[in-house]
Amino acid sequence: MKDLPYELWEPVIGLEIHVQLNTKSKLFSTAPNRFGDEPNTNISVVCTGQPGALPVLNKEAVRKAVQFGLAVGSKINLISNFDRKSYFYPDSPRNFQITQFENPLLVGGLVTADVNGKTMTFQINRAHIEDDAGMLKHFTSFAGVDYNRAGAPLIEIVSEPCIHSPREAAAYAMAVRAIVLYLDASDGNMEEGSLRIDANISVRPKGEKGLRPRIEIKNMNSFTFLEMAIEAEISRQIALYINNPQRAPIELIPPGTYRWDPDTKQTILMRRKESADDYRYFPEPDLVPIVLTESYIDELRSTLPELPHDRFRRYVSDLNLTEYAASTLINEKMLSDYFEEALKICKNARSLCNWITVEFAGRLKEKGKTLLDIGIPPAHLAKLVQMIEENQITGRIAKSVADEMVASPGMDPEAIVRQNPDYQPVGDIASIEPLVDQVLAENPQSIADFKQGRDKAFAFLVGSVMKLTRGKASPQVVNELLRKKISQK
C-alpha cells in the first residue's frame, strides 16, 4: 500500500456527525436523558413506543440546536418540521425515527479548524434535530434491547463533501466537538457514543470533475480511529482503481456501509446498498412545526459564549502560542478553561501551556488521567510556573515538584518547595562563585570554543556548574557569573 501514487488521487470526504444533546430529559418525553444506568430504567411510554403515546417536543433541545446553528453561522429556519423515517429494527421503538428531512432547523454554516498549523474552513450542508434509537445487547442465548437511549435528542450535522484528507476530517470533527462542548450542548463523549461520526468517502484522480462512487463508514468512536479508517479506505479504493483500470468505478466500489476494525486496521463491509434505501419520509402528524421568532434567536445570539475558534485566535495572536499548542488546548474545553484559570495567576502563557499540555499531560498519560480528574487546581499549576518565572526554582526542580504534585494532588507547590531543603534555590553568588571557577579551570577547551562563537560550549559550561549545585543554582546567576568570568579571561 505504501507504494500507492497517493499524490495523483484526491479523496472526497463528507462527515455526518451525530451529537447527543445533554438535555435533562429526552427529545419527546420527560424520561431522563442519562447514560450508564440499569437497562430500561430511564424510559417512558413514549420512548418504548407504546400505542397511544404521543411525542411532545423538548424546547431545551431546540435551544441547544439553535445555539449550534448560531455558533457556525447557519441559516436558522424560523419554521421547520419533523418527518417520520420508517425502518424496522428492534432498537427503534416505533419502527420509525422522528427526524427533520424536508425542512431542517439549520441550513449551511462554516466550521473553522486548524489543520497542521493551517487554518481551514469547512462547509456544513445542514443540521437537524432527531431522536436516538435504543441499543441492542447480545447475550449467549438471546438478545435484549435497552431503551434508555431511545428518544435521546440528537443533532445530525452533515458536512459538504469538502474534506480531502484524513487529517482534515479529524480536524473538522474535533472542531465540531469543541463547539458543542463550549456551548454546553453535549458532553461530546465519543466512547459513550455522545458523539458519533459516519464518513462518506470516495477518491478520484486529481483533476477529474465528477464524483466516483462512495461508501460509508459508520460509528468510529475516536478521532484516531476516524483518521485511520479513512486512511485505510482511501488506500483500498486507490488500489482497486489502479489494479483494475479497465473496470467501471461502480463495479469496483459498489455503495455499501462499512465499519472500522481496529484490530485488523481495515474497513469491513457490513451491508451492501442494493438500491437506495426507501425510508418513506413524510411529515410527522403528531408534532406541530418548530416556530421560532427573530427575538428568540437574537437573545440566544447575544448570550453565546466565547467559541473555540475565537479562543484559538486569541491564543495565537494575543498570547503568542503556537497553532499546535493553541489547538491542543482549545479542543478540550475543560483543559482550555483550566488554562484560562491559571492565566489569572501566571502571565507567561507559553510556559503555562507547555506545563499543561506537555509536562503534566506526559506525567498523567500513563495513569490515563487528566489534570482535572486528578484534582490539581489551576492555581497550583500557575504558582509552580510563576516560581520558575521569578527564579525561585529552576526548571529542573520544578519537574521534581511537578512529580510530587501528581503524586499528592492538592499539595501547594510553594509548600512542597518550602518543606524540602533540596528544592531551595541557591541564588547567592558567594556559594556559586567557587563552583564556577572550578568548572572554568577544568574546561579550558570549552572556553576557547565559546570565544570562537560556539554556543554549545557555553551551554556545556552552564550545565556543568548546575550539576555541581545539583540543579539548585539559579540559572540566571550562573549565566551572569560565567559570562563575567570568561570575558575577564
Binding site: Q50, G52, P93, N95, F96, P285
Partner: protein
Amino acid sequence: MKPFHLCSAIELRDAFLKGEASAVQIAEHFILRIEKHNKEIGAFLSVLGPRALLKAEALDKKRAHNKPLGKMAAIPVAIKDNMHIQGEITTCGSKFLKNYKAPFEATAVRLLEEEDALLIGKTNLDEFAMGSTNENSAYFPAHNPWNLKCVPGGSSGGSAAAVAARLALIATGSDTGGSIRQPAGFCGVVGFKPTYGRVSRYGLVAFGSSLDQIGPLSATVADAALSMEVMGRHCPHDATSLDLPGESYTFPKNLDEIKIGVPWSFLENLKPDVRDNFNHSLDTLKSLGAKVIHIDLDILKYTVAVYYILATAEASTNLARFDGIRYGVRSRNAKTLENIYEYSRKEGFGPEVKRRIMLGTYVLSAGYQDAYYKKAQKVRTLMLDAFEKAFSDCDAVALPIAPSGAFEAGSIHDPLEIYLQDIFTIPANLAGLPAVSVPSGYDSRGMPLGLQIIGPQMCDVPVLQYAHAYEQASRHMQIPPSYIGSSK
C-alpha cells in the same frame, strides 16, 4: 322514577345527585343489561363490572358525606376499546393486542373518571378502527339494535350499539373518517366529532394521527355537550391539542339568522329515501328560522380518494410499532428477527388492516409518493380552502351522514364500496372541522338515518347548538323497541 336506562345521562346524574337513585343501583342496573343483551348485540369486548361497582360505592359514600361530586357523577360510560384505561386491556379489536394491558390512562378517560363517570366497559370496534361496519373486529361483530341482522356501522359500532340499546348512556368513540358519526347515524343516536385538537389524543391508539379525534356518542345532544365540557380540555401530552380553555354549552331555542349551506352538486346521486329524509331535515331547520343556501364544495368529490391515501399512509407508520418485540402477541413460530416481524404481523392483523398498511406503504414509497401522498396533501389543502370559502357564506354545512341507512351484515364485499360509505363524513376529518350526527328519522326499511351538521373550526358549541335545536324540533330520538323494557 322511570327505569334508569330510559333516562338521559343528565337526568340520571341529577336523579343520583338528588338521592333518587344510588350509584350502586345504577351500576348494577347497567351491568345487568349488558349481561342480558351483549351476547346478541356484541357491543362490549369487556365489561368492567367490579371496577364500576367499586367506583359506584365510592360515589355513594361521597354523596352520603356531602362531598362534591363530578359532572358525570354515576353516569354509566362505555369506552371504545382503542382508548386506554390504565391497568385494563386495550385490544383495539385486534388479536395482536389481546394481552395488552394499558400502562397509562388516556387523557379523555382520565377526565371522565375525574368527573365521576362509571366506566362500565370497553366497546367493540373494527380492528384498529379500520372499517365502517364493525365486521372487521377480530373478536366478533357488533350488531345493530334496530335490526340485529344489520351492521351498527363503524368503526365505533360497539359504542353506537351500546348507547342505542341503552347498555350505557354515553360512550366514547374515535372518528378518523366518520367512525363516530356514521355508526351514530346507523344506530339512531347522537355522535359528535369535535374540532381536531379539541379532545386530547393521548392514550388513543392512533390510526390516522392528523385525522383522529375522540368524541362522545349519546342519547341526546345535551349529553354529548356535557361530555364535551368534560373531555374538551387542553392536554400537555398531545402536541396537537388546542391550547384553549374548556367550553360550556347553552342551548338557544331557535336558529334565527343562521345560514345553513348545502353543497347540492355533491348530493346528486342520493337514494330517494335518504334524499327525502334530508330534505325533511332541511325543512325542520328552516322552520326554526334558519336560511338554507347552496354552496360550492365540488372538490369534495375527491374526498374518498384523498382520505384513503392520507389515512393509510399515516396508519402504515402508526401500526409499524406492532412488531412483536415489546408487547402484543409474538408469533410462537418465529425463530429469527425477520420471523418475529413477519409472522407476528401476519398472525396478529386481520385482512383489512393488512390491506391498509400495504396501501399506505405503497403511497409513501419512493417513486409513488409524489403521485399519491403529496398530491393528496395538496388536495387536502384545497379542501380546507373550499370550506373556508363556504363558511364565509354560511354558518354551517348540512349533509346526510351516509349514502344509506344501516345495511345487512355481509351484504357488501367490495372494499371500495365500503369505503364509499364514508363519503359524507370524511370531509370534516380532512378539514379538522366539528361535525355532529343527529337522528333524523328512518329509511324505507325502518332503519335510523342521521343528519350531519358541520361547522367551521373551533365552532364546536354552535354546531351542537344547531343540533340541539333540530333535535328538540324533530324528536326522532327513540329507543329500539326490544330494548325499552327493563331487564329485571
